[in-house]
């Protein structure tokens, strides 16, 4: 939004005579006092915290949020270092019956801790910075994917990673795609090709061929771009199938791993780019669609809680999770009726960040519309990896303990293919069970479009 477009209060009726005078100085930090005061200490959040249940060093979300916030009003209190043990699953948010903004409190506390109490020369700081800025390293690996995959898979690399950086040596680094999603998109002809395909699909469906409303901007995030490009391609094909023209705006990391590591400055830079680019896409008539539930969570909830760039609210209000969008704008279940897929048994895990958006039952409902598909929900526990959390050597054991319930339920389920919307949950599911893991969009693609050979 340019300066000329700044909203004014002129249209508010009856404010002609009222001229506000600034009595108090501009607040320099967020005032979370009303949020802290809303806490009546029922401790429901604590009983939802997957970390506090297994980690004796973690005092739980009630302490990290409202209690620490109050403590901080005393000048001589630093943020407790245990805040770095919070995995940022955000379960406490949807647990709280009293509207306490717990994850917002955790995010600000973590940022303050990193800023003021963590040595910028420490191994932990650099490891966290590297993990949360995976986006900066991925392009290099993606340029030489074979070398990167080879080197990352070497036991000596893992050993070095653990000893030097504190990255859990038991984890397998995600494989880098040989062609990134954006490269594939560009080769395919970019937005122009998508417009053509959308128009063809509309013609085939007997709909109006020219339709400015059927336009989405895809926020693919880092993982679909560099690693699981098949998820991004599935999204494109499924949306085009419904006659949507897909645009791929410039974008930075959603910021999720940065929030979780207290790297709020890095997150702010990324968010600024995203809000600018996505606002422009909205101006062009597109809705914003994400395939990763942590990305959509970040754009919808964390951005408005933590930043106030022009357009932040606008982006939050126009961002959707992909399947949610199709369910509300198309007759997705009707379209899926009578369709079939080859692999019909799935063990589904709802990511924490999808729960917080009210999307936890969605995949199960949509899957039941496809002929012969049996999806089994493996329970409401957290997978335990929580983005970068489970990658840290000191959290690895806790992460696997949290995941134990999910692994057990996956093994009890009939299926040997896992299903989830979150890239890191997917890593954890694979790591704990050895199952192949798919994204909901891939199943929709198989049902609606069929699994095409790699497009040129």
């Amino acid at each position: 939004m340019s300066d000329a477009e700044q909203p004014t209060d002129d249209h508010v009726p009856g404010d002609d005579e009222f001229e506000p005078i600034q009595v108090f100085p501009e607040a320099e930090e967020m005032d979370l006092r009303p949020g802290a005061d809303n806490c009546y200490k029922c401790s429901t959040c604590d009983t939802n915290c997957p970390v506090a249940e297994v980690d004796d060093e973690f005092p739980g979300p009630k302490f990290q949020g409202p209690e620490q916030w109050r403590l901080k009003r005393q000048d001589d209190h630093d943020i407790d270092d245990s805040v770095m043990k919070c995995s940022n699953c955000m379960r406490c948010d949807s647990a709280c019956p009293s509207e306490v903004p717990l994850s917002q409190m955790h995010n600000t506390a973590r940022a303050e801790y990193v800023e003021e109490n963590m040595s910028k020369f420490s191994r932990e700081y650099w490891r966290n910075r590297m993990l949360s800025n995976y986006r900066q390293l991925a392009p290099l690996a993606a340029t030489f994917p074979r070398t990167a995959n080879f080197v990352m898979g070497l036991s000596v690399t893992k050993w070095m990673g653990e000893k030097v950086l504190g990255i859990a040596g038991d984890r397998d680094f995600p494989e880098f795609a040989k062609t990134t999603f954006r490269e594939w998109w560009a080769k395919r002809g970019g937005n122009a090709t998508s417009r053509e395909r959308a128009q063809e699909a509309r013609a085939e469906r007997g709909a109006e061929v020219q339709n400015e409303d059927k336009r989405i901007a895809y926020f693919h995030g880092c993982y679909s771009n560099y690693n699981t490009t098949e998820v991004g391609k599935a999204l494109v094909r499924v949306f085009e199938h419904f006659g949507y023209e897909v645009m791929i705006p410039e974008q930075a990391c959603s910021g999720t791993p940065m929030f979780a590591n207290g790297m709020l400055d890095d997150a702010r830079r990324a968010a600024e780019t995203n809000v600018r680019e996505l606002s422009a896409a909205i101006e062009d008539g597109a809705d914003i669609i994400a395939s990763c539930t942590s990305c959509s969570m970040s754009l919808r909830q964390e951005y408005p809680e933590l930043f106030d760039f022009d357009g932040t609210e606008d982006v939050a209000e126009n961002t959707w999770e992909a399947v949610e969008y199709l369910r509300v704008h198309e007759d997705l279940e009707g379209e899926l009726e009578g369709t079939q897929v080859d692999d019909t048994n799935f063990a589904y895990h709802a990511p924490c960040h999808s729960r917080n958006q009210g999307l936890d039952g969605q995949t199960m409902e949509v899957m039941s519309a496809i002929d012969g598909v049996e999806a089994e929900d493996v329970g409401d526990s957290c997978s335990g990896i929580s983005g970068t959390y489970g990658w840290k050597e000191e959290n690895y054991e806790t992460s696997m303990k949290i995941g134990e319930e999910m692994f057990d339920h996956m093994e009890d389920a009939e299926a040997t293919t896992g299903l989830t919307e979150c890239p890191t949950c997917s890593m954890q599911m694979e790591h704990g069970t050895g199952y192949e893991i798919q994204h909901t969009l891939q199943v929709l693609e198989a049902a609606l479009v069929g699994t095409e050979l790699e497009e040129a």
Binding site: S43, T44, T47, S94, P97, V328, D331, N356
Partner: protein, 428 residues
Amino acid sequence: MAIEDDVLVIGGGLAGATAALTAAEEGVQVRLVTHKQSTLRHASGLIDVLGYTPAGEGPIVDPFEALADLPEGHPYERVGTEAVREALSFFDEIAGDAYSGGHTASNALVPTHGGTVKPTARYPVSTAAGLASVPEDTLLVGFETLTDFDAPLAASHLEAAGAPFSARGVTLTFPGIVRDDAKINRYAHLLDHEETVQTGAGETSAREALAATVDAHLKDESRVGFPAILGDDHAADVRADLEDALGVDVFEVPMGPPSLPGMRLEDMLYDALGDAGVRVTSGVPVIDYETDGNGAIEHVVVDRHGQEVPYRAEQYVLATGGLVGKGVRSERERVFEPIFDCHIPHAAERYDWFVEDVFGEQPYARFGLVPDRELRPLGEDDDPEFSNLRAVGGVLGGYDYAAEKSGAGVSLATGYVAGERAGTEASR
């Protein structure tokens, strides 16, 4: 395009879950939308029907007999005694072996963590060995790190209240707990998963270590009461192992919030919802609605983090709870129901909303919707607010569940009646 179902229940506590389960019995597609986690997480897990009369007389021996004398407008009076009985049978079917008390119409007396006794109609099987009416000497075990349960104090309260047995309390260290503020599900997790803990005698499993700790203090009591932290997913196994090791009956004393028996009840209900094919959408609030212009709700609007998504059904059930669950809210000027703005009678002057005696007859405790006999909330003009909306549980007014000990029973009975009606009408 709206998300479509036949019956939509708003609110995921005991009343909402019961309504959804009953409606699903009619063979219709039911969805339950719940915002934050329900007050079941605060609840004792006991299923009270009526412990005291509205005038404060009791404890009542036979709650069903006492229902006939309730004043007009009380939720039980609205649905009738038979419906309360049916609702309890419905609950018994869902609960199976997990709950006791169905063998008699009389109230059981369950010791609480404060050492009082609570009259209740059904109780989790984990509390069964502890009933205050059973004349068996009792050892209550508290833990230094669980300050909500002072076992010696609770024991002396029980004796002072005239319990027909001798009670003794000890405070011990819980093996394996290292934090002063460990969460209740940390205790439960240690026992559920048989984690290895360090004791004076070396490494041992959490259950064995706990039994050994208590055994050293057990004299000739024939039962031992623990705060309600004995496991979550494997609570029955934990209790059985402790009973084997100690050679006496083991029971749990229901605790204040957060409460594992409440969470276990919640899990049980949500498993039943899954089995019944009820679709559950959680974590997001219903914020608005549209009518069809003929006095019926056409759809409601769910706020999914900024996206306003329409959810449509034939019939709607409002089960959003009372002042704690936030189904009833207040500002300085008014008391209101936040989704449909249904009528809530209350004094215009806010100083008349309460009386000075804390335990007196508090007007605010009875704030809530006024329903007709079909549980449709009535407007100020005594006509139903909407033809296809029913209200159940804590959002209803006209009763003081805390004083009467009637919260769970009202939720079950009204949920059962409204669910059945909604299901029947939606299947037409």
